[in-house]
Amino acid sequence: MATELKVAWGPRKDNVYLGKEITRLDGVEKASGAAKYAADANPKGCLFAKVLSFKGGAGKVKSLDLSEALKVPGVKAVHAFVKEGDELQWDGALVAAVAAERQEQAEDGVRAIKFMFDAMEHFVDEDDLKGAEAAKRTKAPSERSKGDVDAALKSAAVVHKGHYGIATISHMCLETHGSCTRWEDGKLIVNHSTQNVSGTPANFVSELQKQHNISVDAADVTVLCQFVGGGFGSKFAADDWGVAAAKMSKEAGRPVRLMLDRATELKIAGTRPSGFVDVTIAADKDGKIVAWDSHHWGSNGGMKGGNFNVAQMPYVFGFDNLKVKGTGIMTNSGPDRAWRAPPHPQLCALTDTAIDDIAAKLGKSAVDVFLANIDKTPEKLQATYVAEIKRAAELIGWAKKWHPHGKGGDGDIKRGLGMALHTWGGRAHAGTCTVRINPDGSVESLSGTQDIGTGTRTAIAMVLAETFGITLDAVKVRYGSSVYPRSGPSGGSTTIGGVSGPNRRAAISALGKLFDVVAEKHKVDGNSLTAKGGKIWSGTKEICTWKAGCGLLGMMGIETTGEGPKDDGLTSEQVGGVQMADVSVDTKTGIVRINQFVAVQDCGLIVDLLTAKSQVYGGLIMGIAYSLTEEQILDNKTGRYINADLENYKLPRIGDIGELIVEMYQPDSEYERGVIGLGEPPVIACGAAISNAVANATGVRVPTIPLTAKRVSDALKAAKA
């Protein structure tokens, strides 16, 4: 009788690896500098490319002459991204590229390019709805409504009108976008900085054909990416500059490495759209919100005029009486790309701030008002939210520290508390993998996935080691190459489910086959067998070691494939999450400091508790960045992105984050849900939580995030006047 193993996760108490804190397997490689990124690729004969990007708000190409660049010593290839008459619609738009023997020679080549343009009108004031309307830069608004807002407003105990906003930010990947391309015997090999190893070859093929009339079969394109220096949602495509590198590489007959320079990276390689909103919100005397009427606007760059869907506002809460209107603005600024949890950080920042203000108007604690409205959140999350709010409140000492808005102390430094909550799907993406059990007992997993810093490689090894009852070092995880079985792009918190499901399925299938062989040899029932601690057992009786069992397999060993997602309970979706901030505001300078920042986060079955917590810490720190300092600053007069460097695009440093307290919410009921992604959720509620804490400290709402010293000072001055 063939062994029939059930596809499921094992009992939680029996786990050796799952849910434990396991250090990442590529940790030493990264920390010792041995890890090679696309930016480090330097094959023999490699040329180094630099781009010329547009410096202005908008312009039409008058002339572009690359002939002088080609005469520069060391320059081997040039490429024009635009031609005469083309319009350049935002600062940083690509004009040309030069590939040379050395980086400084490529820079010389870029300087030798003769480029003239006629300036065109630009519009970059993404927060200025009236100005945008006057300049005809708005798209027709979309609207939705539910219930009777007017009647609800009339009968409400309190009504609050507020304005809130959140600025555009850039992804700021420390490894800029780019690739190192080379052709060998008509085949294209790309070291690509990507979140999408399996999906990018086809993109190179179609763009090479479309843009440069270069034909290559997808089967002859290999994309490699073992390590990627940050992506955050911006690295899914071949990109025009990657395609240009491949073209120059073909022309020069040499490898070409083209990584964007920092300024161009910030301008064109991805932004998170802005959002601004006017809200009227009303509640009854118990804090139950009875009406919501809002009009939001903002820009997603790229002259697209898109804005988040009216169905997504207000965030998480489905109030009974709603009117929502949204208007997209077209600005001359670099196009958006998915930025960690799109567009939830903005939705949360425009919703939970208004809820906090109505709580303040009622003289109630935000915790009480959020709890009073939990019945308006998705039903499956309500119990989780209640538990997480209570736990976060305990961790931050809410009951002891809380005071009404504006009662943050008598001195210049005011202290306050704020909270916000979020949700995210995190369903497993489609993916396949191959799992091998070799006759020597070693085990391999092969898949065209990528580890963008989340610990994918470690998670795969843990799943296989757990399933086979062997040690982590017996598992070899092969990933980061498009020649392996296809796996989905790492975006939207889909990877952990996307790799753990297929690997568990393939491993259980392989284990069943191994048990068949062992059962036959040892004359036992295959269905009585288990693999634990490097041995194979029948009940409590040891049958043989793992290695001896595998030794029965013959030269071919076992190879199985796994697919996903499936409805077998290994993975699921939708998490909650609650965050609370304790801040101090210096009312003389406007500087906000984080004292404590608490996150309580659920994510179903946790694979690696250590890297899971790291994801949440990272989310909080990125959240502090966009809440306090980080933003794209476009100059109205010139249309230029004036802080496109790491000096003026302000990110927090190690001393700027206060004390972070992370607790994973993991009752058995979470374990039973199966694996759910975690990358996005912890970055969502930060903006609203911090803004609410500042409002609680000072009694003044600083409308727009990030709460820079200037914005805080301006708001405090305006409130006094």
Binding site: E175, V228, G230, R262, T264, L620, G655
Partner: protein, 209 residues
């Protein structure tokens, strides 16, 4: 990582003059000024003229990780580009190119330095130490792994070098000193909690000696 056109001031004759060329040129000039002072009888101006380094590639010997490397480099080439592109020591990363982020941190004569802020020619006669020189069981590397003080890993080698230099020099440092002392590096993924825990463990161990 700098956009080469970003700070170019065009001249009427079409030639460009930019900050980096100036920085590179003046850096090299500083390096030779010490030699100039020993010359007798020459006016300062003559000496300066005589010692202006040619813009052309010249032979230099750089001592990196205890080994001499003979290279031919233009005076404007940074130590960072030399380490990465000529010596293939890619642990130091090119992230900001404006001495803000610390991803290119190396040690020069034991002192943590942004490799993007030094010209290769300036480092002749000095001992350059990169992350690649660390032993496989280096306690700082092990500490980063233990405390999961890394995600994408791109800032990590620079942070490891900065942490190593800080902890060697400041045994028994306080939390506030760690936070201030490691403020020269930037991480985007948000690994500061792990790095702080790692550094605190290292300074506590060293302080207990």
């Amino acid at each position: 990582m700098r956009d080469p056109r970003e700070e170019t001031i065009p001249h009427a004759d079409g030639s460009g003059f930019n900050r980096r060329d100036f920085l590179r040129g003046s850096g090299a000039a500083v390096a030779v000024t010490a030699l100039a002072t020993s010359e007798q009888g020459a006016t300062a101006q003559d000496a300066a003229k005589k010692n202006v380094v040619s813009a052309k590639a010249q032979d230099v010997t750089l001592n990196v990780n205890g080994k001499d490397h003979k290279l031919s480099l233009e005076p404007r080439v940074t130590l960072l580009d030399t380490l990465r592109d000529d010596l293939n020591l890619t642990g130091c990363k090119d992230v900001c190119d404006t001495t803000n982020c610390g991803a290119c941190t190396v040690l020069i004569d034991g002192k943590p330095t942004y490799a993007c802020s030094r010209l290769a020619h300036e480092c002749v006669g000095k001992k350059v130490t990169t992350i690649e020189s660390l032993a496989a069981n280096d306690p700082v590397v092990a500490g980063f792994v233990k405390h999961d003080a890394q995600q994408c890993g791109f800032c990590t080698p620079g942070f490891v070098m900065a942490t190593k230099a800080f902890c060697d020099k400041n045994p028994g440092a306080t939390l506030a000193q760690v936070r201030s002392g490691l403020g020269g590096n930037i991480c985007r993924c948000g690994t500061y909690v792990g790095i702080t825990a790692c550094a605190m463990e290292l300074v506590t161990k060293k302080g207990g000696k």
